[in-house]
Symmetry: C2
Subunit: 111 residues, 2 copies
DNA sequence: CTGACGCTTCGACAATCCTTGAATTGTCGT
DNA sequence: ACGACAATTCAAGGATTGTCGAAGCGTCAG
């Protein structure tokens, strides 16, 4: 994960509809959701949704596969984790005393 | 952390210079850096840097305090963590079998 | 082969963001 | 009080992004 792709990923998430779509896909997990299912939950016209999904796709945050007539989008977990690792990289210069602030317990699982 | 402030935070990070500045502040830790120090490392004119720092400030990602003639910026750890927690919230619908993909080991510490 | 469906691409417009020089505010040493 | 310094505010431009109707492409049922 380099700075350029991190910027692209953040830009992809920096929009109300895209963030909402991405969070639906995070919740859906590896099985993903069809474009139509996402459009239904977000209430967007198809062309607008495609526009946003392409941004997420181009940023590498989601993957795309075809299932008969539908197109299924799914989160790319490694991209999300890489993004977070990039953000916290070398946090506090590596001082152990500061480390808890960099990756606190409540992040370990979203239970 | 609601969707609106998450969008604001991602938008703040979705720019080359702001992401670079923020990462400098993450590395600097609680002590922070002066605006001039950041400008020096990034090679930006002062007005441009202020513009970007204001975005980070307004998004709640950094804090601002004055030290005599200088203004010191520092990361707000709780905002960064809240952002990551928001992103992974309810990951995979809470399925334990999927959870490792949502917050893998290498994120726990940036050692 | 035909019609219907799901999604994407195209095109044009409106809205927003980024950049930077010049002027301004706040602070310090003398 | 004065000059110097650090940072911010202001203003104007050029560039980028978001929106969505209409048209096109691939897929499936009959």
């Amino acid at each position: 994960m380099d700075a350029t792709s991190a910027v692209a990923a953040f830009a992809a998430l920096a929009h109300e509809h895209r963030l909402a779509a991405y969070r639906l896909l995070v919740e859906a997990g590896p099985d993903g959701l069809s474009a139509g299912a996402i459009a239904g939950q977000l209430g967007l016209p198809p062309s607008s949704l495609t526009f946003h999904l392409q941004q997420l796709l181009h940023a590498g945050l989601v993957s795309q596969r075809r299932a008969s007539r539908q197109i299924i989008y799914a989160m790319v977990a490694v991209a999300m984790n890489g993004l977070m690792a990039f953000l916290t990289e070398n946090c506090c210069g590596g001082q152990a005393s500061c480390a808890p602030a960099c990756a606190p317990a409540e992040l370990s699982l979203s239970a």
